[in-house]
């Protein structure tokens, strides 16, 4: 399911990958990164910074760390560097991650 986004995707989607963001179903295209899928889904903030400021992917090339998101239980994952997989569970982050609960190493 797609909600209003300022970002357009090319129309040639071959197949679809289904994942969830904060429990909500999201459809992405095979080969998209998590950040691209989130931007295409809604251009909303995909996290809040340590000071509570809204942030979303910016550079899309692994430099700015503004695309951090929780991927399958692992916080601070760089969405722009991770391709989508069917069944992925994404969560928007609010503030900094806690010391405990960093998820398993991929």
């Amino acid at each position: 399911m797609k909600i209003a986004s300022r970002f357009l995707t090319r129309p040639d989607a071959a197949g679809a990958v289904h994942l969830t963001v904060d429990g909500e179903p999201v459809t992405a295209r095979p080969g998209d990164t998590v950040a691209a899928a989130l931007l295409a889904h809604s251009g909303d903030a995909s996290r809040q910074s340590g000071k509570g400021a809204p942030r979303t992917a910016f550079c899309m090339m692994g430099i700015c760390f503004d695309c951090l998101v929780e991927v399958d239980g692992r916080p601070n994952s760089q969405g722009c560097m991770i391709p989508v997989r069917a069944g992925m569970v994404l969560r928007r982050q609010r503030g900094l991650r806690p010391l405990a609960g960093g998820g398993e190493d991929a």
């Binding site: 340590g50 601070n76 503030g95 900094l96 991650r97 806690p98 010391l99 405990a100 609960g101």
Partner: protein, 374 residues
């Protein structure tokens, strides 16, 4: 038209040069800071940010005293600098540990602290903390830790904000900072003062010069007849992703910066003018951190870097006046963060030769003259 030479020209705009500049400006001198380029090795941009007393000067009482005074001066210095610059420094002096995973190292360091204690008497105190007591105090400490030492006077500061604050304070007080001003030659001018040639061809005059050029010091020091030669010592550091929780302790190798990331450091290597980071040291640092505080195993490192310490032959500060060229001074040290408050006060007075300037004879470079001639 030639510009009027400023009263005091400082060569090098790192933490050391800027601290001295700040002190001289507060004494109402006119000050110009000539700072090199981004390609230079710059300890002030890659250091660990400790404001640290524990262990300092165990074998050289003047350095123990000097560091003790610096640490005591930090709160007032930080308040003044924050006021002048509008930059928060995140100074926290609530005590720090040296944590050990090797019994022999713990014993050696405990003995060094006894010697430091003998120099400083009631101006210092330290504790040796047994491993079980440490784990009772901080349950997250790992089983590989054999003990620690603690000094209630130790602390840390945000070193990059310190550098930025010093730059803005120097400018706010009317100091001139010229970036990209690499001094290549310095000579006594006929009729007094000094002629400086910059790498880009510019020439500048100066009434007095203070050489604070970090690892760029040696060639200019030689031209002024100083015998001190500084050498680089590489340290490598890691920083992790930022955490919402605060680590319950500060140690000399693991410190959580005010923004939440955990900085891990403390390696030493004599590898010449090479500040690259190495996979081997990164692994060593990560292993050390996880041994001390196992919960960090789960936390990711986001950056690693190397930086070069500026070391005098014996590792202690050098504050020297040129015997051959009155008006030329050499200032270099390791731990320039810790010592900043004194560089901006007592040392600036000594350079300014005021009547209440401290006696800094112990830090003169004549201590190297003999070995240098041998």
């Amino acid at each position: 038209m030639a510009t009027r030479p400023s009263e005091i020209t400082i060569i090098g705009g790192g933490v050391v040069g800027l601290s001295v500049a700040l002190g001289l400006l507060q004494a109402r001198r006119r000050v110009t800071v000539l700072d090199g380029s981004d390609g230079d090795f710059r300890a002030s941009q890659g250091n660990f940010g400790l404001v640290w007393l524990q262990g300092k000067g165990a074998d050289f009482a003047p350095y123990a005293d000097w560091t003790r005074d610096a640490v005591a001066a930090w709160p007032g210095f930080a308040a003044m600098l924050e006021e002048l610059s509008g930059t928060g420094l995140a100074l926290d002096q609530s005590g720090g540990f040296e944590v050990f995973t090797d019994r022999a190292e713990l014993e050696d360091f405990s003995a060094a602290l006894e010697r430091q204690q003998a120099h400083l008497g009631n101006r210092f105190s330290h504790e040796i903390v047994a491993a079980d007591d440490l784990r009772r105090m901080h349950p997250g400490i790992g089983p590989g830790v054999v003990g620690a030492t603690f000094c209630a006077l130790d602390g840390h500061v945000n070193p990059l904000r310190l550098l930025r604050a010093l730059r803005s304070a120097v400018s706010a007080l009317g100091g001139r900072i010229l970036s990209g001003a690499q001094v290549s030659d310095i000579a006594a001018a006929t009729g007094g003062g000094f002629d400086l040639s910059l790498r880009d061809g510019r020439r500048l005059g100066a009434e007095r010069v203070v050489l604070c050029a970090g690892l760029g010091t040696t060639p200019l020091a030689t031209q002024l007849g100083f015998v001190t030669r500084v050498r680089p010592q590489r340290g490598e550091l890691l920083i992790t992703e930022r955490l919402a929780d605060r680590l319950p302790f500060l140690s000399s190798t693991i410190r959580q910066v005010d923004e939440g990331g955990v900085q891990i450091g403390g390696t030493k290597a004599d590898v010449g003018p090479d500040d690259s980071e190495t996979l081997g040291m990164m692994a060593t640092l990560a292993r050390h951190a996880v041994t001390v505080f196992p919960a960090l195993a789960d936390v990711r490192v986001v950056r690693a870097w190397g930086a070069l310490r500026v070391m005098s032959p014996d590792g202690y500060p050098v504050y020297a006046r040129s015997p051959r060229h009155p008006g030329a001074y050499l200032v270099t040290c390791h731990s320039g963060v810790t010592l900043a408050p004194l560089h901006a006060t007592a040392l600036a007075e000594w350079i300014d030769e005021t009547s209440n300037a401290p006696d800094l004879e112990a830090f003169d470079e004549n201590r190297f003259a003999l070995s240098d001639a041998a």
